[in-house]
Amino acid sequence: MIKEKTAGLARYTVRDWVYVAVFGALWGAAELTLGSYLHVLFPPLADTFVIGLIMAGLGSILLLVGRCFVPRAGAVLMMGIITAVLKAFSLGGIVIGPIVAILAESLLIEIALLLTRQPVRWHFALAGSLAVSWNFFHKFIMMRLLFGKGIEAVYLKMIQDGSRVLHLDVRYSLLILLILFLVRVAVGALCGWLAWDLGSAVQRRLAPAAAPEE
């Protein structure tokens, strides 16, 4: 479906940059509306699972569909940078965490897709898995960065939440963490898989009115 174009940023056409802006703005709009709303509903210390999973999943879908339309190296990272800047201008009070997550997820998708010249569906699934699995490590890293010593609190909170959701005793802490990580990997793979279909569907929708190449 997608043929990788060999070029750095210097070879980007006006259309490439505009499409990068479109997908960056789409994810940015989702972060500014849905993301902010979810963060108010679930304050940062109380939730270690839901918001990140939803926003990372949606973000990876948008970035991967964007990659269908801008098949150039670096495009996904550029989309992520635009989303991060839009998020920085948002009215919400605390945006440093989401900005780090946005940049990390776009970088992980970029790295996953750099390894292949012509992505196929399972590359998208792999890229989605990598991006969403960042959500697992994000809380630890942000806690270390923001609060210094809070890492054990996050670990305990994650195990307690996981124990409640999975109906497992807290003694099986490693199993709980493994399951929580694998859930993210699976959700990410599903998002990548869906993004492949969604990209094709959007291309079919636009096909009759497709503009000539720049």
């Binding site: 940023l9 505009v18 709009a29 304050p43 948008l62 550029m78 839009l86 609190a153 503009a211």
Partner: protein, 229 residues
């Protein structure tokens, strides 16, 4: 041209605070916070707006409130609860560190205007990214209207009966319409002969005043690290 502090100083300041929060012991966080507040005030107080938001304080106070329960060994009885004094102090340290970082981010990056951000990207050689950011900023309001129109169309056609299909249709319609809008932007840019790769004369990102500011920050870091507070 904007006077000091410019984008360069803001970036230097953010990096400085990030480094210091990583290496400073907990006791030295208060002087760092005062420095961040002073920089914010020097900057016209624009970046200190989080201090006026309830959400900011709810987050900070929740850290302090939760810490005695989940950190450290419980050594104090407070009614039916067993609390940790060590956990409370750890919570206070964590809250102080969080305030430092959040305010540093706010007074540096968030106080830059979109135009300054575009200039920042162009200053580091990412010419097209500055253009793309401008397009994205202008696109946000259009996207809101596009998503709303698509949502109501799908809802009126009975989309709520099949939510997953409705969600898929909403995504396809929104992305397709955003790309169509993007094509119009491309046509407008091409008609004006716009080329994102063309060099435009830009004032330098880092000026002499930024260098002096960086040196003074190094001196302050030395005082914070070596002075027995």
């Amino acid at each position: 041209m904007r006077s000091w502090p410019g984008p360069g100083s803001h970036l230097i300041f953010l990096m400085w605070v990030l480094c210091l929060t990583a290496i400073l012991p907990a006791g030295q966080m208060l002087p760092l916070l005062i420095t961040v507040l002073l920089f914010g005030l020097l900057n016209g107080g624009r970046g200190l707006s989080p201090l006026r938001r309830a959400r900011f304080w709810i987050m900070i106070l929740s850290i302090i409130a939760i810490s005695p329960w989940i950190l450290g060994q419980a050594d104090e009885a407070w009614g039916p609860w067993r609390l940790s004094r060590q956990g409370l102090f750890m919570g206070l340290e964590m809250a102080l560190r969080a305030i430092c970082l959040l305010l540093a981010f706010s007074v540096s990056v968030r106080s830059l205007s979109p135009g300054e951000m575009v200039r920042l990207f162009e200053g580091v050689g990412l010419k097209g990214l500055g253009f793309a950011l401008g397009v994205a900023l202008n696109l946000l309001t259009t996207l809101g209207a596009t998503i709303e129109a698509a949502y109501h169309t799908i809802r009126l056609r009975g989309g709520h009966r099949r939510p997953w299909l409705a969600l898929k249709l909403l995504l396809i319609t929104t992305i397709a319409n955003a790309l169509r809008y993007g094509d119009d932007v491309v046509k407008a840019a091409s008609a004006r002969g716009f080329d994102p790769g063309v060099q435009h004369p830009q004032p330098p990102l880092f000026r002499r005043a930024d260098g002096v500011f960086a040196l003074s920050l190094v001196a302050v870091a030395g005082v914070l690290l070596l002075h027995p507070w």
